[in-house]
């Protein structure tokens, strides 16, 4: 039994990618869950908000690169990120003003708001296409690896290598910072408390003199920020292609529902749960098992499901949660 090598393979191909992906999903799901908690509808446009935000960040990154500005070992996109967030927040506030506010005032059924968000999704999709096109872009620069396979092998003398790309470490790091900041904001600041109060009980919050429009504006700004950060990290880690951001909507919804819609802590847990299940189910385990059980030569790849069905994993998780615990693991809103 060769535990060291098995562990290295596991870390390299399962744990590290899943942790990075989980952080991206968690940030996305946080945005969905916040919008749900305050505005009480599932925002189908969230994936395309991510795409739009990432698109602006990429354009700004190119601009910065053309001016010769870089962040040293870090990707230039990090400098562009705040500006991208600002632009996305403007767009999202604009859509709220033009679209959602009307239905909110009318107290329309949530499903009407969902449908309006589908319309917004269409428009944002088109805007992203006009802005940056439908092609695939890589925009990560700076140092590629914190640890590459050869250095690791030389360091440890193990035949299996471990690579830690800087975008992966960056993803987890940025996500942690953002989550801590978000929870500090929600729990410690007056505006954050107002948001939570509004989410818990709208009428009571109104009676206590909380300005609902201000809460809604704050929510959209935070959601736009989370979406842009999540989208940029996802794009840095993999690559940017507008359509992928539509497809990532399903795992994000699954994560938000698993954690309980409207529950921020649940969204984070759900994001990592979905990401780890997805990677674990679609990873061919044959090498890990080969190290753990010497002399055993499995005929297949020991892969439960082909990678092309990774979305089926989030779907199955979603179905199981809906069947057994529709309010999610952390008891979100059951309305």
């Amino acid at each position: 039994m060769d535990i060291a090598n098995a562990l290295v393979v596991f870390l390299n191909f399962v744990f590290i990618p899943a942790a990075a992906y989980g952080a991206q999903l968690a940030l996305g799901a946080l945005g969905v869950t916040l919008v749900y908690g305050i505005l009480r509808f599932s925002n189908f446009a969230h994936g395309d908000t991510m795409a739009f935000g990432t698109g602006t960040v990429i354009l700004l990154t190119w601009g910065l690169q053309a001016m010769g500005i870089s962040a040293g070992p870090l990707p230039t996109a990090l400098i562009a990120l705040p500006f991208g967030i600002a632009l996305t927040a403007l767009l999202v506030l604009g859509t709220d003003r033009a679209v959602y506010r009307f239905y909110r005032k009318q107290k329309a059924a949530p499903i009407i708001l969902v449908m309006a968000s589908v319309g917004v999704m269409f428009v944002m999709n088109g805007l992203t296409r006009v802005l940056i096109g439908v092609d695939e872009y890589r925009f990560d620069d700076g140092a590629r690896f914190i640890m590459d396979v050869r250095t690791f092998r030389e360091m440890t003398g193990l035949p299996e290598g471990l690579a830690l790309r800087s975008t992966q470490a960056l993803t987890v790091g940025v996500a942690l910072v953002v989550m801590v900041a978000l929870f500090w904001f929600l729990n410690r600041t007056k505006s954050g408390k107002a948001m939570r109060a509004y989410s818990d009980n709208e009428d009571l919050a109104l009676l206590s003199g909380i300005d609902p429009e201000r809460v809604v504006r704050l929510t959209w700004i935070i959601a736009a920020g989370l979406a842009t950060i999540a989208g940029t990290l996802y794009g840095l880690d993999k690559s940017f292609k507008a359509f992928n951001y539509f497809q990532i909507l399903l795992p994000i919804f699954a994560a938000a529902i698993v954690g309980g819609l409207g529950n921020p802590l649940g969204a984070i847990a759900g994001g990592f749960l979905v990401a780890f299940s997805e990677v674990a189910v679609t990873y061919p385990w044959v090498r890990v098992v080969g190290y753990l059980v010497p002399g055993y030569e499995p005929s297949g790849l020991m892969q439960l499901l082909g990678t092309e069905y990774k979305f089926a994993v989030s779907f199955v998780i979603l179905i199981v949660v809906l069947l057994f615990r529709p309010t999610g693991l952390f008891r979100g809103k059951s309305v």
Partner: protein
Amino acid sequence: MATNRQAASSSSRWRAPVLFAVLAVLFVLEGTVRNSMFSGSWNTSLAILNMGLISAITALGVNMQWGYAGLFNVGVVGFLAMGALAPVLVSLPPVEGAWAAGGTRLMGALLVGLGTLAMAKLAWTRTRSGIATTAVLIAGFVAYRWLFDPAVVAIEANNPARHGNIGGLGLPVLLSWAVGGLFAAAAAWAIGKVALGLRSDYLAIATLGIGEIIVAVMKNENWLARGVMNITSIPRPVAQEVDLQNNPDFVEFASSWGFAAAEASGIWVKLSYMSLFLVVLLAIILLAELALKSPWGRMMRAIRDNETAAEAMGKDVTRRHLQVFILGSAVIGVAGAMMVTLDGLLAPTSYNPLRYTFLIWVMVIVGGSGNNWGAVLGAVTIWFLWIKAEVWGPALFALLTAPLPDSAFKSHLLDSAPHMRFIAMGLVLLLVLRFAPRGLLPEK
């Protein structure tokens, strides 16, 4: 489900005929006038109309779910794809050697798969033990993969250049339209069982998921329909153009109308398809209208307008929702089968949710949710505009950007003109939803 549901205002009874007449004029213009806006070819005009009719049937299915029951189905593309499999599995000629290679084993695997799910359900309801249910699922999964994997390898190895799929049953292609409806209904049953009865967003999210998964299955399971290698040569229910052109009677008939044989044969084939589609469309509308006027239809609308009240009256809301969800999906499945028959081709990569889910939604909302004729009008109109926007959009852009000096910015704008269709459709959806939520033809 429009937001304001007052009793029908006195909308003129001429509204529908006039709007349909305007639409007809557009198609006639497309067929006769050749200028920068219209192609002046009856073949193009009828091709748009045929696809428009299929969209109309899809829209009818969505309208049943949304207009009658307020269910938001975001997986239309998946149900269309489900239906699209039917012509492949029913009407293609059997593939030589495929069944011998692994057909029985494959069927066994699928039965084991379904059996496992049923057993797991049984285990859960009987024992409420998570461990027992998981054990059943794991044992079933192992047995399934043990049967399934070798069967698929054997089938896909069978003449992979031309086939590699399980093949069809060689039955008439028209029969497959009904089977397509059944396929989609089965998928709808499974998803509806899980997601209905919970809050309304959940059905939307679950259908979004099933839509993506069905398309992924179609792309990757080569034994089923050759995946991305596409299935061509799906049998046609109407004559071939070439046969018509070689038929002296037809050539004479065409020239008596002043058409060249090549053009006339295309028109003839499209008219034949059109009549088939019209028969299906009218039959579905007839059934839907009868159902809507029956006590069942009144009950459905009562549930939609006030679930709580209907439930208090003893109506089983979840069951009725499941029923109408399955019916609507079956209609979408029929449309999916018809679309593959029209194209003569199953190309899984073309199943894009933006085109097949959300465009259909725009059709339903614009047409007037809850009104079957509205769905038809909306579908054909939006489809016409969607196709023509491909031509009109760049022309409009060229006109608008003409005063700008030649620059990278201008060429970028011109290049992105095709994407404007998405923005335009999204804006149409948002504007109609807000300012005319009852659509072109409001529900009576």
